[in-house]
Amino acid sequence: MQPHTVKHGQFCSLKVHFVVYKQLNFPTPLSRDGRRAAAPLSKMAAPLTLLFLLAVTVRAALFNSSLKELISDRVEVVSPLTAWKRVIEGLALLDLGVSPYSGDVFHETPLVIYLFHFVVDYAEVTFMLADLITAGCLYMAVKDYNKQVFRKQKFALEADRYPLDCLELIRSPKEMHYIPLKVAMFYLLNPFTILSCVARSTCCLNNAVIALFILSTIKGNLLLSAVFLSLATYQCLYPLVLVAPALLYLLQHQYIPVNFRRPNFWWLVAQYLFMFGGSLLVVVCLSFFLLGSWDFLSSVYGFILSVPDLTPNIGLFWYFFAEMFEHFRLFFLCVFQINVFFYTIPLSLKLKDHPVFLIFMQLSIISIFKSYPTVGDSALYLSFLPVWTHLHRFLRNIFLVSCLLLASSLLFPVLWHLWIYAGSANSNFYYAITLVFNVAQILLVSDYFYAFLRREHHLTYGLYLKRKDGSEAAMVLK
């Protein structure tokens, strides 16, 4: 209101532009429309190779130690869906001429049988390769994503859309330079991932397919994204919720606004869904031709959805369904399963401009609320955390979440031993730790969600709120 402030503001804006342009001096020159050619990996090849070597060494060392059998049996690391013992058992049954889906042994998809029929002697190499593929895909995807984030930020700066006092929230290429490497490192050196790989849990293969899907989505390739997503859904059923963020991202990538009246929008959605549905159908039919029967549908998808096996794991289903009365079972089964899929709608509405964050949220919701979670599923979304390091100042529960996660991860084997072997605890103890672990995960995810939205809010309305007369104000969430 006072002319003094306005003039000062204008002067500040000029100075700000100059300062910002100096700081954000990106090394390679801009092309006309702002797109950059994909920068070669050569700059980061050496640290990446070193990281890969280190990861392979750690895994190989554990594979050759006596811990391999011990880890393969831990219920936190393998579930009835992903256990390696069951894969071997299914292959052995097949050699005896019996369908691997007879009985309650094998719950993986037929394509896994096909893969392991040839590589079962080199299983360790396969799983290490899957982990490396996942890390490589995440690396490239995050690199591309960072470039796009930076480009969008540049346009927003040029269009003067940011209030003046939120410049400390602007990100610079220097800080974002090591993020892809950190993402790959978080994935490969996460103890959860290493345990999953050493246990030869097929969760590593699931993660690899989801990482390939993320990479192809971020590169903007409709066909590959649909194909990998259908493979991931075929494998595990829950990645179906990733259709929404994939669609949102691809629409954004091709500059189509989300407007229900535009034919462009419907055309892209129809294309994508057709490709997704078509490849899913093709893969299911191929599986039928592999074994010659439709057994696998009830053994894989029926098993995932109806949760007949109540072996304790780090999820929420087992305890609840163990104590439930039979005639309520179907109702609660529906409730629990809908819980996984339902968050898609409100989250997509809120995060329709930020599809990659939506992918992160969906991955975390899948790994917390799926029917047979393992630590390998958590490892995938935990590896995304370096991408959101700029939210550090808005996170409120860092200490609590890290303590809870650490404590629960360490207490899992202890309370399992006390319950099963020593007999001095019971299932309530183990379920308590499961609850702690899941509460920690939920707190982590909701904290990041809060921080993300808060940053967006600040970027729109300014970091320090001022009342009309210029004095400081505070926002109260009611």
């Binding site: 292959l91 097949l94 050699d95 005896l96 001429g97 096909y114 029929h117 390739n221 066909l223 590959l224 194909v227 093709v282 191929l286 031709f289 592999l290 010659g292």
Partner: protein, 370 residues
């Protein structure tokens, strides 16, 4: 020359009984101190059998409890069979193969049928063949149709009969003598149906076998009556004895045993009067030392007529069944993978993969590949 003629004439005697080795399986199935007598029973039969020539390597001795080193034994390292501690049947050279909790129905049946895990040592195996005469002695607490093992499980007479049939089909015995000293012991041999089995029991169905004498120094009954008198009978047998089975059937009449011992010989091919006691209780080798060489062709033809004369059962010639599958243990073959994915599937899958690849990356890459 006369010695050579004598031998040639009598060489048929070398092959008359049909067995070339002897085995004994002696089982005591009871635990606890007050069942001292069952252990003493088994050990006295063990002693006789060993004295008459069967070596420890051919005896499978199963004792369900340790009486010699029991806390309540006032004379440790001894097991007496006569009161006033006249005879210590434990001695210095007793080799117990299955002791304590290892004496179970499963282990007993596995020993009989030979189905033991490859890691079982030879001392715990019954490595008999189709020329073995086996003595099986069981003692403990029993009832009508069953024998109690370890106070927690039972073996029935049907199971036992089936085990013997398995042994017959696997050619694990030539002739088998089954002796049982329990209450209602005759019920245990009622169900036998395999050939060449002879059975003896200490009491009929509905009767109890009684124990013999308590010893006030030790505080328990030392032996059962039947086995006590059996032991007395066997003490008179030496390796050259010509005592036959009919005399064994007369051991412990009702006046001495209070119960009526029974026997069963209908499945046995030879006449019991011609069966020597040492055919089962001892390991008697017919050895004649001579400096002459003997032509066996005539004996071979003589031998062939005998089975035809016997009539009922034609024993076919079987090869020696592999009791200890050493070759399987040494040469573990790698698993063969029998299942292969159908060709149509492989074709379809790779066509699709190639299609997706070219769709994504364009046809221009074709010329780089080809």
């Amino acid at each position: 020359h006369t010695a050579g003629c004598f031998i040639t004439d009598n060489v048929g005697q070398f092959f008359s009984s049909g067995h070339t080795n002897n085995w004994a399986v002696l089982v005591c199935t009871s635990r606890f101190w007050f069942n001292y007598r069952h252990v003493a029973n088994t050990l006295s039969v063990y002693r006789s059998v060993k004295r008459l020539g069967i070596p420890d390597s051919h005896i499978v001795l199963m004792l369900a409890d340790d009486m010699a080193c029991n806390h309540r034994n006032p004379k440790p390292a001894t097991v007496f069979s006569h009161k006033n501690m006249e005879l210590n049947v434990y001695g210095d050279d007793v080799e117990v193969d299955y002791r304590g909790y290892e004496v179970t129905v499963e282990n007993f049946l596995r020993v009989l049928t030979g189905r033991l895990p490859p890691s079982t040592p030879r001392s715990k195996r019954l490595l008999s063949d189709d020329r073995s005469n086996i003595l099986i002695y069981l003692t403990g607490h029993g009832g009508n149709g069953f024998l109690k093992f370890q106070d927690s499980e039972e073996i029935s007479n049907v199971e036992l009969a089936d085990a013997f049939e398995q042994m017959w089909q696997k050619r694990r015995y030539n002739e088998l003598l089954f002796i049982i000293d329990t209450c209602q012991g005759a019920s245990m041999y009622e169900r036998f149906y395999s050939p060449n089995l002879m059975a003896l029991a200490s009491s009929q169905v509905g009767e109890d076998s009684l124990s013999h004498q308590p010893d006030v120094g030790i505080g328990v009954h030392l032996m059962d009556r039947y086995t006590f008198y059996l032991l007395e009978f066997l003490e008179d047998i030496h390796p050259a004895s010509k005592t036959c089975m009919n005399d064994l059937f007369k051991v412990c009449p009702k006046s001495q045993c209070v119960s009526t011992p029974g026997h069963r010989t209908d499945l046995f091919l030879r006449d019991p009067g011609s069966v020597l006691v040492t055919d089962f209780f001892g390991s008697v080798r017919k050895v004649e030392i001579t400096m002459d060489s003997i032509n066996l062709t005539s004996v071979v033809s003589h031998r062939k007529e005998e089975p035809a004369a016997n009539g009922e059962l034609q024993k076919e010639v079987y090869s020696y069944s592999d009791q200890l599958p050493v070759s399987e243990i040494i040469h573990q073959k790698p698993k063969q993978r029998d299942w292969h994915p159908p060709d149509g599937f492989i074709l379809g899958l790779w066509t699709l993969i190639l299609l997706v690849f070219f769709q994504t990356y364009g046809i221009k890459h074709l010329k780089h590949i080809f």
